[in-house]
Amino acid sequence: MEVTVTVNGVEYRRETEPRRLLVDFIRTDLGLTGTHIGCDTTSCGACTVLLDGVPVKSCTMFAVQANGHELTTVEGLRRDGELSPVQAAFKEHHGLQCGFCTPGMMLVATALLGANPDPTEDEVRWALSGNICRCTGYANIVKAIQSAAATMHEGVRA
């Protein structure tokens, strides 16, 4: 089957098997390996991408279901040569250790801050509850996201 998707602003047209998972399509067919695989039960969120701005677990969708949609992966977070506020905050607040969960975490955070520019700690933690991190204990991830929210406010005010 033919699939046309726009990923990080670039349109791709590819032949794919109907059963091919979106995560494999992104990682192998498009070569965007920043999206990771951490489980086989839709539990970990390492594979999270944004589908029309909404976080989805790309291990739990077929590539063909993304036909005609817009995807954002971690590779698309950087804009105009600059790290996004979420990316910068993850580094600044030591929100990552091994980095394996990080793309998924940052994409969830990006979507959250798009919908809720000033989330409470509980709101951040709830938004992250579909994503597993085995290294950090989450505290610095939460801190990073709240700090990114503050930075984005300043950006708006400036």
Binding site: T33, H36, C98, W126, S129, R134, C135, T136, G137
Partner: protein, 789 residues
């Protein structure tokens, strides 16, 4: 003991004590990390493994004809084919053998039976389901107690001389002296508890890309490896390949926690397949495969007894352990110690006698026994003593904090020889506990605990004052499979004053690229950002035993400091040449030598580095580099005191953490931000084990906990908030006074959580609940009702 370490370098230079941001993060936050599954090689084939659906059975036949006929299938590999190359069995890290692909019997659910090599991973998995295996089922043994029963079916019938299901027996300490201590006791307190089977479950599973060049026979093996050099040597031994033709490359690792220390059957099969087929072969396990078959941790059934005087002194400890080893004895641990370093179980306390007796049993479960964020069973040891100590205090009518204070090893007793033979290098346990008590307002919580709760909830306060032993070896005592537990560092200063540091250890998220560069910055004054740290490629790094058991900072960190100091001595001679002064007349400040008393007359390390290649004395060798192999004089002994306050709901048995403080003393902290990150992660893992995370089996040996729906790991939502504190007692024998910290919190915290729950329930007669402290277990204990596990 001081409260913090004051940096001696400017922040931008990034020496010891600065929370500089991590150098490795730039690639990770842009999705540019390169993990194993990201590797694509031209012509690469994919492997999938057929696993046993049953726990114990004889293989009658394997029919792979349908699989072999499928489009895209290149080969189906069975144990018999491997046996023809003498590869059906491989040695484990504990001197046992393990089946690579089963030939005679399957011995646990999930055991490797056959492998498919195909052009595409989807096809490989399709073909796996087209292989038909006939089994004759045998009774499954699902506990070590059952394994040792008279007439139990023999699991390891292939093993010469093996007539029962005993994997090992071992003891430590002094039995007679301990018996004497118990004879004098006014009171003996006992505890029986099971530290359940757990799994490190790093978010990235294990995998390999084996690339054997058919023309040269050279094998490049990309491996999720915490110990690439040791793995190269073991591969050479297992596969009979010449070691110079093996290159292990451990790429970015998505967490390890001990899971990536052993060699797994999949690695061997993929390498053999690449060798035979002449193409690269990739195998990446699924999460289910990871949880069901690779290195589990813990699974210790522990019995402990403390001999006490009526006025609250400990006289002695007796511990006996029955460990569930699974079907093969594959603990990753130093050769001499059959139950790891469990004999550190006298913990932070000063008493005269201890005896540990350990026995391991084969069961129909996956093999492993890896040190999951732990230095070889120190987690189990710490758990037992910290639980016993609390129960002892209650039985004596004492406050558990007061009881600990009374029995702690005192600061002036260090170095302290423990009754089981460890020499604790340093410690100040009283100060750490006092600090934790102040931080959490211990007395305040004790008062609140006594007041009636408006909703009938029960408040509990739990302490753990742990001591770890990490940083193996020395080489006299510690080896794995004969390889001495040293580590090394090679440091080269380039002409422009930048540097590359090459290490035999391997980061899995600990931040080595930053931390180790900071040690160089401290010793040589080269900004940490100018020091590239290279690890993981055995062709381009010096030998080392790898990263586990909190040994990178204690061993490789020491090697780095020593080699940097050697280079600084050569730099002194170069500086003397440049300044036309005597080396003895020079003084060092971070990044610069100058003539004593004439601070203006000096040269920077960068100028010296340039001179090492452009203007060196005739009698001096060119260049500015060195390599050092560090053999630690002793282990290091990080410690800490953790206090948890919980609220238990007696209605439904749930409990939640109201507050937790963790005071850690890991000696000098190289990068406090990274250290606190390690501690926070470890406290979360400790909480996981106390609250939800375990692997169990039904009576047929079916694994329960083989995916993230059954094996519960905490998300941001369940994870408690922690408050951290520190004391600093530098290790006296480590060049920079550091002790290692990656595991302290996982080792120390489980007992604190469980102690808190037991504290809440003590007055109701509850003496023990095994981990994980699940709501129905709490409810059952409170109501005196036997509940399902």
């Amino acid at each position: 003991m001081t409260t913090t370490h004051q940096p001696t370098t400017p922040f931008d230079m990034g020496g010891i004590g600065h929370s500089v941001r991590r150098k490795e993060d730039d690639r990770f936050i842009q999705g540019a990390g390169r993990y194993l599954d990201d590797i694509q090689l031209p012509g690469m084939l994919h492997m999938a493994i057929l696993r046993s659906p049953i726990a114990h059975g004889r293989i009658l036949s394997i029919d792979a004809s349908e699989a072999e006929a499928m489009d895209g299938v290149v080969a189906v590999v069975t144990g018999e084919m491997l046996a023809a190359h003498d590869l059906a069995w491989m040695p484990t890290l504990s001197g046992d053998t393990q089946a690579v692909l089963a030939t005679d019997k399957v011995r646990y659910q999930g055991q490797e039976v056959a492998a498919v090599i195909a052009t595409d991973p989807y096809i490989a998995r399709d073909a796996v389901s087209a292989i038909f295996v006939d089994y004759e089922e045998l009774p499954a043994i699902t506990s070590p107690q059952q394994a040792l029963e008279e007439g139990a079916v023999l699991i390891r019938d292939e093993k010469e001389g093996q007539t029962d299901n005993v994997a090992y027996t071992w003891e430590a300490g002094d039995r007679e002296a301990t018996d004497e201590a118990f004879a004098k006791a006014d009171l003996v307190v006992t505890l029986d508890t099971h530290y359940p089977r757990s799994h490190p479950a790093p978010l990235e599973t294990c995998g390999v890309v084996a690339d054997v060049d058919p023309a040269t026979g050279e094998a490049t093996i990309y491996l999720t490896s915490q110990a690439p050099h040791a793995h190269r040597t073991l591969f050479a031994i297992v596969a009979g390949l010449p070691e110079e033709k093996i290159r292990i490359i451990s790429p970015d690792i998505g967490g390890g926690f001990g899971n990536k220390v052993p060699i797994y059957p999949g690695y061997v099969v993929a390498t053999a397949a690449s060798l035979l087929i002449g193409k690269p072969v990739k195998w990446v396990e699924s999460r289910s495969e990871n949880l069901i078959s690779t290195g589990f941790a813990r699974d210790f059934h522990m019995h402990g007894e403390l001999a006490l005087t009526a006025d609250g002194k400990i006289l002695g400890l007796r511990a006996s352990i029955l460990s569930d080893q699974g079907a093969f004895y594959a603990d990753a641990q130093p050769t001499r110690f059959r139950a790891g370093l469990f004999h550190i179980c006298t913990g932070s306390y000063d008493f005269g006698a201890a005896h540990v007796a350990a026995k391991g049993a084969f069961t129909n479960k996956a093999p492993g026994g890896v040190a999951y964020r732990c230095s070889f069973r120190v987690t189990e040891a710490s758990y037992l003593i910290e639980r016993l100590v609390q129960n002892a205090a209650y039985e004596l009518g004492m406050d558990p904090a007061e009881f600990r204070m009374k029995n702690f090893i005192r600061p002036e007793q260090f170095p302290y020889l423990s009754p089981t033979g460890f020499v604790y290098d340093s410690g100040d346990y009283h100060t750490a506990l006092r600090k934790a008590m102040e931080m959490i307002d211990y007395e305040g919580w004790r008062r609140r605990q006594r007041e009636p709760h408006p909703e009938g909830k029960l408040i509990g306060i739990g302490i753990a004052s742990f001591t770890e032993v990490v940083g193996a070896g020395n080489s006299r005592t510690y080896d794995i499979a004969g390889l001495k537990m040293i580590d090394s560092a090679e440091l080269r200063i380039h002409p422009t004053g930048k540097a590359i540091l090459k290490l035999g250890v391997k980061s899995q998220g600990q931040g080595h690229e930053t931390t180790f560069a900071q040690i160089v910055a401290e010793e040589l004054g080269i900004p940490f950002s100018d020091v590239k740290v290279q690890e993981g490629d055995t062709d381009n790094t010096p030998y080392g035993l790898g990263t586990y058991a909190s040994r990178s900072t204690p061993v490789a960190g020491a090697a780095t400091a020593v080699v940097a100091r050697q280079i600084r001595e050569k730099a002194r001679r170069l500086a003397a040449h440049l300044l036309e002064a005597s080396p003895d007349d020079l003084e060092w400040e971070p990044g610069r030598f100058f003539v004593k008393g004439v601070p203006d007359k000096g040269v920077t390390i960068q100028e010296i580095a340039f001179a090492a290649y452009t203007d060196f004395p005739e009698d001096m060798e060119a260049g500015l580099e060195g390599v050092h192999y560090y053999d630690p004089p002793n282990m290091t002994y990080p410690f800490g005191s953790y206090i948890v306050v919980v609220e238990v709901d007696p209605e439904d048995g749930t409990w939640k953490v109201l507050d937790m403080v963790a005071v850690d003393d890991c000696g000098v902290r190289i990068n406090p931000m990274i250290v606190e990150g390690q501690i926070t992660g470890g406290l979360t893992e400790g909480f996981a084990k106390a609250n939800m995370q375990w692997i169990t089996f039904d009576e047929n040996g079916n694994c329960i906990g083989s995916n993230f729906l059954d094996y519960l790991v905490p998300t941001a939502w369940e994870t408690p908030r922690f408050r951290l504190g520190e004391t600093v007692t530098p290790s006296p024998h480590h060049p920079i006074g550091a002790k290692g910290v990656g595991e302290s919190a996982t080792v120390g915290s489980p007992a604190a959580y469980v102690n808190a729950v037991i504290d809440a329930l003590w007055s109701k007669g509850v003496r023990n609940i095994d981990m994980p402290v699940l709501p129905h277990r709490v409810w059952g204990a409170l109501n005196g009702v036997e509940v399902a596990p």
